[in-house]
Symmetry: C2
Subunit: 220 residues, 2 copies
DNA sequence: AGCATTTTGCGCTGATCTGCGCTAAATCAG
DNA sequence: CTGATTTAGCGCAGATCAGCGCAAAATGCT
């Protein structure tokens, strides 16, 4: 039974935009935040019937970047009329932080590369307002990292405080003060009770995230 | 010149969702947060060609609630497949805080009423996941009010600290501590240099928001 | 004029946080 | 065994913040 409005028209009888999902896939590469570009743009796709936005995002990450098992977060909708020369397209922007190792396969494909995520000259070169998407993504990820230790689980467990702080420095673009960082994060981590093996100097204590879910598992 | 893809198809040849905008119009009524319902639902509309989402939101607020000159904020997209029995519809949810006086005309229409915004029994009675939209809106507005003095300009200027604190109490659902509130907010307000007239007791100092834009003007 | 009322302002205490210098601890290299 | 290295841990000073009690100030009422 197809629904019709008071004019006898179905939903399909009205003009509708195309809906795309675009994802700023961020990672840490060479000590700084980087964004994945495929053919000079963010990976994305048009929404298919019956899909949720998250389904579409996951499909585009798998198909365009070989990335699976992640949990992209919705940012917001970009809808500037002049945004897409092809026509009326809305973009629902997402962000996902992915360990750089998981992007290795994608990066062997022609046209797939990493670019510094907080480099203005990179952002202005992106089509379809995607520079704004990346900027919004960087801001969102930095806020998450200020609040929680490695919330996107880029580090394999267990890890040391130095590794964690190194990661946070790369994400935030500034180095947090050692003691302040340690006090805040230790309260949000679970000690393994063990230390590192080998290496000179006093062995480091090792930690896991509070969540019981393994790092690579999808989140709720 | 109509764009076609590598299959010779235009954007319109592919199935697309309808895109609706729904706005949680929040206000303060009788000392607490309230949400506007029109016919038992949030005001909304389908997106028309050539419109931005903000255009559509403003149009629906004008047509369904008689509200003009505001600046709704985008929350996020709701896309649960079973959300809308009419068919494939995405809803881009927004929130707007509006002085209750500006809703007076709308409230004289049949079927338009205010309901407590943080009352779970109200939220579960809403169609199309709109309870979740209202909950997300309440959370967003409360975060804004924790950070800034009356960011949605519900108070006419100038206002007293007691009026401001009363408004914030209504929005937050809890009364902030007088001195803590005063220290934080005074730093974010502009003193008029004048005090209230009449009334018993020591006259109150009066304040304006930092922004130079009049309260009813739209924001950037 | 005195009192009640209301707001402003602030001194004070205790709590919390940041940043830093420095030592102890636990390794490995020589 | 000694020294170098690296991390852990912490004492401390200074800064900041929250909350409270209370008095001063500025009105209107009687």
């Amino acid at each position: 039974m197809v629904w019709r409005d008071e004019h006898g028209k179905r939903l399909e009888d009205y003009p509708r935009p195309s809906v795309a999902v675009d994802t700023a896939v961020l990672t840490v590469d060479d000590g700084r935040l980087a964004v994945l570009l495929a053919g000079g743009a963010l990976p994305g796709t048009f929404l298919h019937p019956g899909e949720t936005l998250a389904d579409a995002v996951l499909r585009s990450l798998r198909d365009k970047a070989g990335v699976v098992g992640r949990s992209p977060r919705q940012l917001r909708v970009f809808d500037k009329p002049s945004r897409d020369p092809r026509g009326w397209v809305l973009s629902v922007a997402h962000v996902d932080m992915v360990p750089v190792a998981e992007l290795a396969a994608a990066l062997t494909h022609g046209g797939v590369r990493l670019a510094p995520a907080d480099d203005a000259s990179v952002l202005v070169g992106l089509p379809y307002e995607q520079g704004e998407i990346v900027a919004a993504a960087v801001e969102a990820v930095r806020a998450e990292y200020r609040a929680e230790p490695d919330p996107s689980a880029l580090l394999d467990e267990p890890f040391t405080l130095a590794e964690l702080r190194g990661l946070h420095t790369a994400v935030l673009g500034e180095e947090p003060m050692r003691d302040t960082f340690r006090r805040y994060m230790e309260a949000r981590l679970k000690s393994t009770g063990e230390t590192t093996d080998g290496g000179r100097g006093r062995p480091s204590r090792t930690w896991r995230r509070m969540s019981a879910i393994p790092a690579a598992a999808t989140r709720g």
